[in-house]
Symmetry: C2
C-alpha cells in the first residue's frame, strides 16, 4: 500500500493547488465543496498507477487523474439529484446545500472541467486517444445510470443485464482510469487494452463485493448496519440470483418482502437475509466475484511491464477487497 | 443566402443520418426529441461557413457542426429545467415530456456526445486545438448562465456586467462555432482569432437586437407580441441603460414597475415602453449594437481569404439582423 498512499498524497496536493477559485462563485463554490469532501481518491490513484506501470515521472499524469476524479464527482452531484439524496459522506449533498439549479449547472461545469484537465494531460499526440477513451467511458457511465433507473421499475431484470449495468455504471470508470493513465504514458495498444480489461473486471468484482457486504458484512468492519439494500428493495446480484434459483414458494415470499412496507424494515431484513442464506447465495455470489477477480488478474498478467510494478496493482486490488470484509 | 440554405440542408441530412437510435431508449429518446425540434441551425451553419472560408470540402466539417448543435441543445435542455419552462418551440420541454431525471441525464449525455462528435472532426492533428477551443466556449456558456441567474436577484447590475454576461452566455458559442470550423480547416492562428472575434461581436449585436425587438419590434415580423422581457422583469440592456440615465423620479417609477404584480401586465408594458421611448433608449441601444456590428466586420475584414467568401458571412450577419426588425 506504500505506492497507494504516496499517490493519494500527491493527488491531494495537486487537488489543493487546483481549487476552483474562479468567478462566478455561484458556479464554482459547489465544485470546491464536493471536491473537498474527500474519499479514497481511488480513481485518480488508479490513473497514476496505470501511468507508473510504464513511466517513472508519474506527476505528469496528475491532470488525467483530475479528469477522472472531477468526472466521478460530477456523477455524484447529478446522481444525488436524481436519487433525491440529502446526504453524502455525512454532509448535505450539493443540491441540498446550494439548490437544484446549482446542482445541475455546477455539475455541468465539472463535466466540462474533466475535459479541460484532459486537454493538459500528456503530449498533444496522446490527446486524441485520451479523448476517445474518456468519451467512451463517460457515455457508458450515463447509460449505466439510465439502466439502473430503468431497473427500479422492472420486475424481470436478468443477471446478465444486472452485470452489464454495474459494468457500465461503476466498472467502466475503474477500467478507464487505468486505461487513460497508460495512454498518457504512451503504452502499447495491447497493454492499454489488457490494463483496461483488468480494471473493468476488478470493478465488477468490487461491486459484487459491495452487494455481498451490504447484507452479510460485519457492521464494525463495513461501517454501517447490514441490510440497507434490502430495506431499499434494491435488485442486487444477491436478490436476482435468489429469484433465479428459488422454488415458487420462496420466490413468492421474496417478492412479497420486496414490496413490503417500510415500517417492518428490521423484520424484512432478517427474513430476506435468512432466505438468501438458505439458498446459499453468499457462496454463489462469492464464486462469481472471484471469477471476475481471476479474469482481471489474467489480464494484468498479460501486461508487458516488470512484475514488481504490476504487483502493486495486484496487492491494491486484493487489499480493497479484504479491507471491508 | 444561397450558401446558408445549402449548408442548412447538408446539416439536416447529416443530422438525420446520425440519429440517436441507441439503447437504453430512456437516455436517447429525449435527445432525438430535442434534436428533431428544428430551428435555424445557425451555429452548425456557422461552423460549416468558418470551414468553407478556407477549404472547399465543407462536408468534412459536419461532425464539428454537430458538436456545436448538440452542445447548444444540451444547454436548452438544462436551462429549461432551471427556468422551469414548460414549452419550447410550441412543444413540451424535455423535462416536461420525460421528467426531471431524464432532462438531467439526457442533457449530460448530449454534452458528452458533443465531445464525441469533436473527436471525429478533422485530422487528429486538429483535435487538441479543437478541444481547447470547445472547452473554453463550453465553460464560458456555463459561467454566462450562472451570471444570468445571479443578475435576477441583483438590483445593481451594470451595463458592462450585462454585456459580459451576454457575451459568455450567447456570443461565445456563435464565435466558437466559426472558430472551430476554421480550426478544422487548418486555418492560420491569426485568421482563426479574427473569425472568432467577428462571431463574438456579431453575437453580442444579435442579443442587443433581440433586446430591442422584444420591446420595439413589429409583432408581425418578430412573431410575438412585444413586451415579454418587461413582463418578466428581465434586466435587459434597455432597462439597465434607462436606469443609468434616468432622473430620480423616472428611476423610481421604473423600479416600481419592475416590482409590480403580474395582473397589470399590459399596463406595465405600455408604461415602461413609454419611459424607454422618452429616454431615447431605442436609438442608444441601436448605437451600441451597431458599434459591435462594426467591430465584428472589422475583424472579418482582417481574415486572409478571398473577399467573395467573406461576403457570404457578412451578408448572413446583416440578413439575420434585418430579418426580424
Amino acid at each position: 500500500m506504500q505506492m497507494f498512499s504516496q499517490f493519494q498524497q500527491s493527488f491531494e496536493q495537486y487537488l489543493h493547488s487546483r481549487t476552483f477559485l474562479y468567478e462566478p462563485r455561484g458556479l464554482y463554490e459547489p465544485i470546491d465543496y464536493i471536491m473537498g469532501m474527500g474519499g479514497k481518491r481511488l480513481r485518480p490513484v488508479l490513473a497514476l498507477m496505470g501511468y507508473a506501470l510504464f513511466r517513472e515521472d508519474y506527476e505528469k499524469a496528475l491532470p488525467i487523474a483530475m479528469t477522472v476524479e472531477v468526472f466521478h464527482n460530477f456523477t455524484l452531484v447529478h446522481d444525488d439529484i436524481m436519487d433525491k439524496a440529502p446526504l453524502r459522506r455525512g454532509k448535505p449533498t450539493v443540491h441540498y446545500q446550494y439548490g437544484l439549479n446549482a446542482g445541475i449547472l455546477s455539475g455541468d461545469a465539472m463535466l466540462i472541467y474533466a475535459y479541460k484537465f484532459l486537454q493538459e494531460a500528456g503530449s498533444p499526440v496522446a490527446i486524441p486517444a485520451l479523448l476517445q477513451a474518456f468519451n467512451q467511458v463517460a457515455i457508458e457511465v450515463c447509460e449505466g445510470q439510465q439502466y439502473d433507473i430503468d431497473f427500479e421499475k422492472r420486475q424481470d431484470v436478468s443477471i446478465p443485464e444486472y452485470l452489464k449495468m454495474i459494468e457500465l455504471k461503476t466498472a467502466a470508470l475503474i477500467g478507464g482510469s487505468l486505461e487513460m493513465g497508460a495512454i498518457a504514458a504512451g503504452a502499447a495498444r495491447e497493454d492499454i487494452q489488457n490494463l483496461a480489461a483488468f480494471g473493468r473486471n476488478i470493478g465488477i468484482a468490487f461491486q459484487l463485493q459491495d452487494d455481498i457486504l451490504d447484507t452479510f458484512g460485519e457492521p464494525e468492519k463495513v461501517g454501517k448496519k447490514p441490510g440497507g439494500d434490502i430495506a431499499q428493495n434494491k435488485k442486487t446480484f444477491l436478490i436476482l440470483k435468489a429469484l433465479e434459483i428459488a422454488g415458487p414458494d420462496t420466490k413468492n415470499a421474496l417478492a412479497g418482502y420486496m414490496a413490503s412496507s417500510p415500517e417492518k424494515e428490521q423484520e424484512k431484513i432478517s427474513a430476506v437475509t435468512a432466505i438468501l442464506q438458505e439458498l446459499n447465495i453468499p457462496a454463489l455470489a462469492e464464486e462469481v466475484k472471484e471469477s471476475y477477480q481471476q479474469k482481471a488478474f489474467n489480464h494484468l498478467q498479460a501486461v508487458n511491464t516488470p512484475d514488481n510494478r504490476k504487483e502493486e496493482l495486484r496487492r491494491l486490488a486484493l487489499s480493497l477487497m479484504q479491507r471491508q470484509s
